[in-house]
């Protein structure tokens, strides 16, 4: 049988694999763009929850430290939300404009890689801001104490910095894991296809 005959057959065939396929599990399967957009929507919903919680904290609490953190969370969430929205729109653009396979793969790979890098940069970049804010807020709380003169500043500073470092390491590990889990597999799959189409 030649390839041309097989082509005819493929329009209405039942393959042996089809029978086996019916017996196998059927996990959800969708194009990468659709899956990516679903992840983005999930993250946007999380951001909205964060913003609402931060606004509630800002409205119902008079503690200056809490208010300061809430303000930072709101500002950070809004900025990150805009980045997510931009990514969503760019993916939609690639969906609605029909590129050749190589160009579509190249654009999507670039987009997902850039976003993963941005996500990590955003997480890591926020760490020094959080450190300074924590320091300022902590000092403010100490001065609010009845007898601030009794406070051991050196010990307090060392304890705060140690806690901050542990927390930072945790955030970096989590961010790397999250980005790899959420986007890494798509980047790898797209990259593999791209390498195959360009060099294979």
């Amino acid at each position: 049988m030649e390839l041309e005959e097989l082509s005819e057959m493929l329009t209405g065939q039942t393959t042996p694999g089809e029978r086996i396929g019916r017996l196998s599990n059927h996990p959800a399967q969708q194009p990468v763009t659709v899956l990516l957009k679903k992840h983005i929507m999930f993250e946007m919903i999380c951001l909205i929850v964060f913003i609402v919680a931060a606004i509630a904290a800002l409205s119902f609490h008079t503690n200056r430290t809490l208010q300061l953190f809430s303000g930072v969370i709101i500002a950070g969430s809004v900025v990150f939300g805009l980045v997510l929205l931009r990514l969503h729109r760019q993916i939609t653009y690639y969906e609605t404009n029909t590129f050749d396979t190589a160009a579509a793969l190249r654009a999507l790979t670039r987009l997902v890689s850039r976003f993963s890098r941005l996500y990590l940069e955003f997480s890591i970049g926020s760490l020094p801001v959080i450190y300074v804010l924590g320091l300022v807020a902590g000092s403010h709380d100490v001065y609010a104490l009845a007898q601030p003169g009794n406070f051991n500043w050196t010990r307090g500073f060392i304890t705060y910095t140690a806690c901050y470092l542990c927390w930072s390491v945790g955030i970096i590990i989590f961010s790397r894991w999250y980005v790899k889990k959420m986007y890494g597999r798509y980047t790898a799959a797209l990259q593999q296809l791209l390498t195959e189409i360009e060099n294979g």
Partner: protein
């Protein structure tokens, strides 16, 4: 005629292209159905930007192949292997059967990568090297090289079954 009606008529006329791609890329009927729906959705999303610069069939091939190539699921390789093994087993057990060669060829095509399948698909539908290059985004020379490699690969795989 409304855009929607125009789209539905064009898709209906060329639906065999989508069926063919679904059958080539996936084994499971439910997966094929999912892919069919996704291709239709992708085509509808992109139809507003279709400017008749190419034939509708060529454009539909492009949309369908882009969707099929990036169709993603965990454990796809596992299911593929099962399908391939089943096909190979059937071929081995029915040597006198007339459909031996078709099953062997199909099993061999199942073993090709997503991009290779796209190129074979277009070749099977009599697209020229220039058109294949335009749809896939690689050069004509590269298409020729890839096709030659794919044919060799298919021959070597089918030989193992027959």
């Amino acid at each position: 005629m409304s855009k929607e009606k125009e789209f539905l008529e064009a898709v209906n006329e060329h639906r065999l292209i989508i069926h063919k791609i679904c059958n080539l890329y996936l084994d499971d009927p439910q997966d094929r159905n999912d892919l069919f729906q996704e291709i239709l959705l992708a085509a509808w999303k992109g139809y507003a930007n279709f400017r008749n610069e190419s034939k509708f069939s060529t454009w539909l091939y492009r949309v369908a192949l882009n969707t099929a190539v990036t169709f993603y699921r965990k454990g796809t390789r596992h299911i593929r292997t099962m399908a391939y093994t089943a096909a190979a087993g059937q071929v081995a057990g029915e040597e006198e059967n007339n459909s031996d060669r078709s099953h062997a060829l199909q099993a061999a095509i199942n073993m090709l990568t997503g991009v290779e399948k796209a190129i074979v698909m277009l070749y099977m539908d009599s697209f020229s090297h220039t058109e294949i290059a335009r749809i896939t985004g690689i050069t004509e020379n590269h298409v020729a090289v890839k096709l030659s490699r794919i044919k060799t690969k298919l021959k070597s795989i089918t030989k193992r079954f027959l």
